[in-house]
């Protein structure tokens, strides 16, 4: 692609992204704008996990724990629960920092583990965090237990709150629209960070470690440091997304941070194309939007064809989702949009 064409694509996608919430909001309704907001959150999460799994090759099944840490930090620092109301520009970085510290906390003991052992320890770590959130309401009430934390402050810039609908030149600007632009901004930031990392010295060090740890350390790489850095940076983006989630949703409970969520994010990375940034973004968007489409389609379709509900739509949705995961992996194990390197590796493996 030459520079002009690139610029054209860039401007076109910028315009599409800028008007997207209004087009979708006026044609499909604001619940779909909300879904798009979530898709952006998941893009951030998936890119964070991609650093750990895709770049550094460390299989992490407890990634949601960092999202949870970010969300709870934000919620505790901005809700009536402790009656602390810090502005977001303090609590979101703090949440990200806390998440990164938890990343180091997880990373340090598992430095020597790899593959499935690492997977199961990270999974256990995620569960431990969730269990603590569920139970830290007694004897000192920190997390409010299974009820979760309510009435979390929306993001406020000066006297301007993103929690209420406002009128801008005759346009009703809903919270979902405002959050969309905020999320978009931060997502673009995370994408840029991911690209910069990928082609940096650190990114190349991660790839070297992923491909052959012994050779990498023989070349003088400090495996310990780059592994910890991968965990911390992945956790950092998880923490940012968590803080945004808490303010967007206004309510969090341990239920949002179960293993299934970790698996979903991993599935986004793997189904999209592990280690390939555009692929991961595609995976996150498809896996957020597709279940919502199914939710809208399955119920009416059954009413239309059979005249009554045969299968509970929620049930059918998950069933199809699981099947899609299986079929996708069987037919295209390299993901929807793999990087050139990975594609070549798979083709080599097929030739045997």
């Amino acid at each position: 692609m030459n520079a002009n064409k690139k610029l054209g694509v860039f401007i076109a996608s910028a315009i599409v992204l800028a008007v997207l919430p209004f087009v979708v909001g006026s044609t499909l309704g604001n619940s779909w704008v909300r879904t798009i907001d979530f898709a952006l959150l998941y893009v951030m999460l998936a890119l964070g996990l991609n650093i750990v799994v895709g770049f550094a090759g460390l299989l992490d099944l407890g990634f949601i724990a960092f999202y949870a840490v970010g969300a709870y930090t934000f919620a505790l620092l901005g809700s009536p629960h402790f009656d602390i109301h810090l502005p977001f520009y303090i609590s979101i970085p703090l949440g990200a920092l806390c998440a990164a510290l938890f990343g180091l906390l997880l990373g340090t003991p598992v430095l020597k583990l790899k593959g499935d052992y690492l997977a199961i320890v990270t999974l256990g770590f995620g569960e431990i965090i969730r269990i603590f959130m569920n139970n830290l309401n007694a004897p000192i009430n920190i997390t409010n237990g299974p009820q979760g934390i309510n009435l979390i402050d929306p993001i406020q810039i000066g006297g301007f709150s993103m929690g209420k609908t406002i009128d801008v030149a005759g346009f009703a600007l809903n919270p979902v629209h405002m959050y969309y632009y905020l999320f978009l901004l931060l997502t673009v930031g995370v994408v840029i960070m991911a690209y910069r990392l990928q082609y940096s010295r650190i990114g190349r060090a991660w790839v070297a470690m992923r491909e052959d740890q012994i050779a990498a350390s023989a070349m003088g790489l400090n495996i310990r440091n780059i592994k910890l850095l991968a965990f911390a940076l992945g956790a950092l983006s998880g923490g940012v997304a968590g803080g945004l989630f808490a303010s967007f949703q206004g309510f969090i409970s341990p239920e949002s941070f179960g293993l299934l969520e970790s698996i979903m994010i991993l599935a986004m990375v793997v189904l999209g194309g592990m280690g390939h940034i555009p692929g991961v973004i595609l995976g996150a968007v498809v896996l957020t939007i597709a279940p919502e489409i199914l939710r809208d389609v399955i119920g009416p379709l059954q009413m239309h064809t059979f005249g009554r509900m045969i299968v509970d739509p929620e049930n059918a949705r998950m069933l199809l989702f699981g099947l899609a995961m299986v079929i996708m992996m069987l037919t295209r194990p390299e993901g929807m949009w793999p990087s050139k390197r990975r594609k070549a590796e798979f083709e080599d493996a097929k030739k045997g």
Partner: protein
């Protein structure tokens, strides 16, 4: 009542069930080097099918003693789960045998979601009580109590484990399994049909899983579509704890994990001055796991493996 002894006994019951499930994980891992994420769902199906068969029989007015009814239920559930295990391997794992490890992990997770949803379709989302056909008569052991049913569970678990060890160590099938786990390609050259052996491994593991599922259901008096998840996770933890791929290790890890968990749940309140309660039971499994892997990354009975690039 002696709390210490009581917790040890409870842990033994729980641990032998973990061990039985852990065997399924460790066998598959030993041969193929992957986590069979759907194994927990096989356990769940075993429990569900047995309960269904028993309720059908009792509502049809069949008046047989409780244990016989459970046995009939098992005779249906075991083949059903064996078939399920066979199908899981064929659909989710065989086509991906040469793919990188993450691909079969994702199919396994996908399949496990499918099986859970299928269970909701068949049995609904609610807890299903185990039919009240077994009496829970208790036996006193030095001030602690254990039910006859629990004694039965432990005895059955131990005999199944011994049986499995005999199969693996003494029979031709077992020798082929061990050969395949060491090197599938060479085993194939020696005339072992690797595909059959892998299928057999899944089928045997699933049969053990079905029995374990019924034990869980009788022990807790209920079954649920989601029950396979936590118990599967803990059983896998047990397998790793003992040294994955090692049958004796899975048994030792399972029993140890069960005992640690119930001792932990029994004493955590006293130890922390009431700060943490017994609902933290579930974290012990993971704490122990992390501790073991830090100090002995290959598990308690696992062999030290050289780094393979």
């Amino acid at each position: 009542m002696d709390i210490f002894l009581q917790q040890i006994l409870n842990g033994l019951v729980l641990g032998s069930i973990y061990a039985l499930i852990a065997l399924g994980y460790t066998m598959v891992y030993g041969i193929m080097g992957l986590i069979n994420f759907a194994h927990g769902e096989v356990v769940m199906f075993g429990a569900m099918v047995t309960i269904t068969v028993i309720s059908l029989l009792t509502s049809a007015g069949v008046a047989l003693p409780g244990p016989v009814l459970v046995l009939i239920g098992l005779l249906v559930a075991i083949p059903a789960c064996m078939l399920l295990g066979f199908v899981i391997e064929r659909v989710a794992y065989r086509p991906l045998r040469n793919a990188p490890k993450l691909a079969p992990l994702i199919t396994a997770i996908g399949l496990s979601i499918v099986l859970q949803q299928a269970a909701i379709l068949i049995w609904g989302r609610n807890y299903i009580p185990f039919p009240p056909i077994l009496d829970h008569e208790t036996i006193d052991v030095f001030g602690a109590t254990i039910t006859q049913l629990q004694v039965g569970i432990v005895v059955l678990c131990i005999s199944l484990m011994v049986g499995l060890l005999v199969v693996v160590e003494k029979t031709k099938l077992g020798r082929a399994m061990r050969a395949t786990s060491q090197n599938p390609a060479v085993a194939g050259l020696m005339g072992v049909n690797v595909n059959t052996i892998i299928s057999a491994t899944f089928v045997i593991g699933s049969a053990l899983g079905a029995i374990a599922g019924v034990m869980v259901a009788t022990n807790y008096d209920q079954a649920h579509y989601y029950m396979g998840f936590m118990i599967g996770l803990k059983a896998f933890t047990a397998a790793v704890l003992g040294g994955i791929g090692n049958l004796g290790g899975a048994v030792a890890g399972g029993i140890l994990l069960g005992i640690i968990e119930s001792l932990g749940a029994g004493y955590i309140g006293d130890l922390t001055g009431g700060f943490l309660g017994s609902h933290y039971q579930d974290i012990f499994a993971f704490m122990v796991l992390i501790a073991v892997l830090i100090f002995r990354p290959s598990g308690l009975l696992g062999e030290k493996m050289a780094d393979r690039a």
